[in-house]
Subunit: 341 residues, 2 copies
Amino acid sequence: MPDLLKKKNLDILEKEFGTINKLSEQIISGDIRTLSRCITLSESSREDHQIFARAVLGKILPKTGNSLRIGISGPPGVGKSTFIETLGLYLLKKNKKIAVLAVDPSSAKSGGSILGDKTRMEKLSQSEKVFIRPSPAGTTLGGVGRHTREALLLCEAAGYDTIFVETVGVGQSESAVSNIIDIFYLLISPGGGDELQGIKRGIVELADLIIINKADGSLKKDAENIARDYSSAVKLLRPRFNNWVTKVLTCSALENTGIDKIWNSTEEFFQKFNKEREILNYRKDQYRKWLREEIIQNLNKQIYSSTKINGLIEFYENKVLVGDILPSDAAYEIVNNFLKK
Amino acid sequence: MPDLLKKKNLDILEKEFGTINKLSEQIISGDIRTLSRCITLSESSREDHQIFARAVLGKILPKTGNSLRIGISGPPGVGKSTFIETLGLYLLKKNKKIAVLAVDPSSAKSGGSILGDKTRMEKLSQSEKVFIRPSPAGTTLGGVGRHTREALLLCEAAGYDTIFVETVGVGQSESAVSNIIDIFYLLISPGGGDELQGIKRGIVELADLIIINKADGSLKKDAENIARDYSSAVKLLRPRFNNWVTKVLTCSALENTGIDKIWNSTEEFFQKFNKEREILNYRKDQYRKWLREEIIQNLNKQIYSSTKINGLIEFYENKVLVGDILPSDAAYEIVNNFLKK
């Protein structure tokens, strides 16, 4: 830290936002405003803000790791918000403190935020024991993972014991999120078309629980059929963990049915893994990956800020642009020069 | 190249696969088997194969750049295969040579391939002027971009003048693919639910043409309604290019209606951009990004194969795993030591 942030800058930041010690104490005491502010700092495009937030994170690190980390994904329109609201209200009755981090795949172009208004989970957001927050996916390498993970750790330190990481769409962010969470819910709705076609298999394999939502009204029969199809299908897939067979359940978030089954299965999952310490090993793997991502990002920053290399990158870029050389060969030359003693 | 592949290894590879000169000549002459083989080499997990394929690629580089590069995406079940088949048959009548590269988001876990059987486009694949090929997304950084881009360039050198890059799902691979193609089709089907909800906006913004497929039978009316909704919605979005307003069209790939309108708009798109040389500038931007990706990958390889750093990575990894230090701070120390003279 002291290396990363000059004393003078640190003083300015501490004057503006509070001291690192004070901020971490406030987060640990559960102060929501401080929690929000630190998440905002960690998402800032200003590097000094990020480093400052990370210094706070470093302080609260011993207080992290005590939540159930639950990933939720599913195609658009499947009813993720309603599901989280219904499950969240159920968990509030069990005296849980809940955080919902919604990974926002905001356009890489506009940089704008499209999710995240609390109106999506109106009842849930009214509780004082609930913290709802969009987490920008970001445009940079490792964006999804970094922001969301930092927010998750800060929430854990603030005492949230059940944390949902919601992703929308069916894409690569799921795989990034699976590096952060313990258990992964995949929501499916009946009537969405060719649910079982191979293309979704990559996502299906990430799922520890497959939940067919909207099992109500005229779709109830369909939901049961699809559940049966998925139950057969998951037998063909390798589960994420050796001793957990992916379960397929139906529910109606709208009519509040089937929620208890889902939570029972979730508890069963965590009991199993806490007992066998698999969760711990799994989280260790996640931290290893995280470290690798940070190394890449750091290296990348170094090469582009290197004065020694600057002209050379431009030189090769021009050669690439006129079709003189392949980018891979140009990269080889650039990196070799950068690393040359 | 000579730096990257030792003479001895090169000899062995040239003996096995043919000389680099011969292979590039055969590709340029349109030999499909050589084309296939070189794509396979470029996708190999063996690094010497990759480098060898890239040497061929370097040779044929001057023969690339002459195709219409068309990205096609859309949610599962929208009918992408049928659409490509119908449009492809239409283009065959216009004497086009067509390549279809299907980006296969195969499970990061199993590494298996789930798409790619030619049976998906049965009629189209029977033509000698059509080349259909799955392109593994890969598990590594830049996987989608690299494999698919190399396959695309090889196809261009082989004389394919219309190249479709198909992605499935609605996720980050679209954004990688948009770095490879010129025009982006987004396929939507009526009855898919909440089509206009914000979560798809990131993908919608990538689209130059939004195509409502399945405008037939009982869904025709729905298709027209959705087209109207999208037409209003795209007005709120920034188009990818300043002088191209995203068009919304309907078609039925099944009944072969609306295909001519789609192709006319596509030609209009390319005429516009060829005239204004915007395509050229756009492709240059894509090549700049490509170079940046290659630099990252190369650096990453260097740090992990560095003997100087090896023990240090392990040391800090252990500190990270017991919660002593944040991965970001550990990465800072590791990279600093790696770069220290």
